[in-house]
């Protein structure tokens, strides 16, 4: 299992996470249905506006799924940032993970590792977290 993703999208997510610090940032990457290919970055508003929680606004969530259906796309990646902890799914992340087909990407911008960052990807299915490799393409 692995996630293949372009450097431009990785950089855009890291920029978003810095811009929204100290709150967690979040979003999705969409791709053609069935492709497992993350090509269209769609940053979402963190309705919780919190450094320790993120949530898509329910209205935005419905609009997102409608858009995905209308465009014959799929949600390939669901991402969010951790601002003070490592890029590993928290207990809350695992409890909420509701898209068994998605790659769950976490980035960390915690100070201890600055200016480095972490960008890691997982599958979260029935409460089981499996990390996968990330192949970044230029």
């Amino acid at each position: 299992m692995s996630l293949t993703i372009s450097r431009a999208i990785v950089n855009a997510i890291l920029e978003q996470s810095r811009a929204e610090y100290p709150d967690e940032c979040c979003g999705v990457i969409l791709g053609p249905a069935g492709s497992n290919s993350p090509v269209r970055l769609k940053p979402m508003v963190n309705a919780a506006h919190s450094p320790t929680f993120y949530e898509f606004d329910p209205k935005d969530l419905l609009a997102l799924y409608r858009e995905v259906d209308d465009r014959d796309e799929e949600i390939v990646v669901i991402y969010h940032s951790h601002t003070e902890t490592e890029a590993y799914p928290s207990r809350t992340d695992i409890a909420y993970a509701g898209e068994p087909g998605a790659h769950y990407v976490l980035v960390s911008t915690r100070k201890e590792i600055a200016p480095a960052t972490e960008f890691r990807s997982y599958r979260i299915i029935d409460g089981v977290v499996t990390e996968e490799s990330v192949d970044i393409t230029d």
């Binding site: 979040c26 999705v28 979402m44 919780a48 320790t52 929680f53 993120y54 949530e55 898509f56 329910p58 209205k59 969530l61 419905l62 799924y65 669901i78 969010h80 799914p89 928290s90 207990r91 809350t92 992340d93 409890a95 909420y96 993970a97 509701g98 898209e99 068994p100 087909g101």
Partner: protein, 90 residues
């Protein structure tokens, strides 16, 4: 005429992989009961202690049921009910 219910991926194992199913009922609560009678177990994934689970979003047409009276929200023939898992975490 019945009510169309859109099922998210994570609950499709209950509906034999069907993305859309139909149900009947005059309230959301009745629709969920009817769904559960056709697809055993799905009700428990939506409800906890008699309320909608925190991490499940339900919409009637375009409106979040939290603003329509929750489980008591009225539903009529031809309405579309959409169930979506919250995208959230810590």
């Amino acid at each position: 005429m019945s009510i169309e219910v859109r099922i998210p991926t994570i609950l499709r194992p209950y509906t034999k992989d069907q993305k859309t199913v139909s149900a009947e009922g005059a309230t959301l609560s009745a629709v969920i009961s009817h769904l559960d009678s056709q697809y055993a177990g799905i009700g428990e994934r939506l409800l906890e202690n008699g309320s909608l689970r925190r991490f499940i979003n339900v919409y009637i047409n375009d409106e979040d049921v939290r603003f329509l009276g929750g489980l008591e929200a009225p539903v009529k023939a031809g309405d579309s009910v959409t169930i979506l898992p919250a995208v959230a975490g810590g």
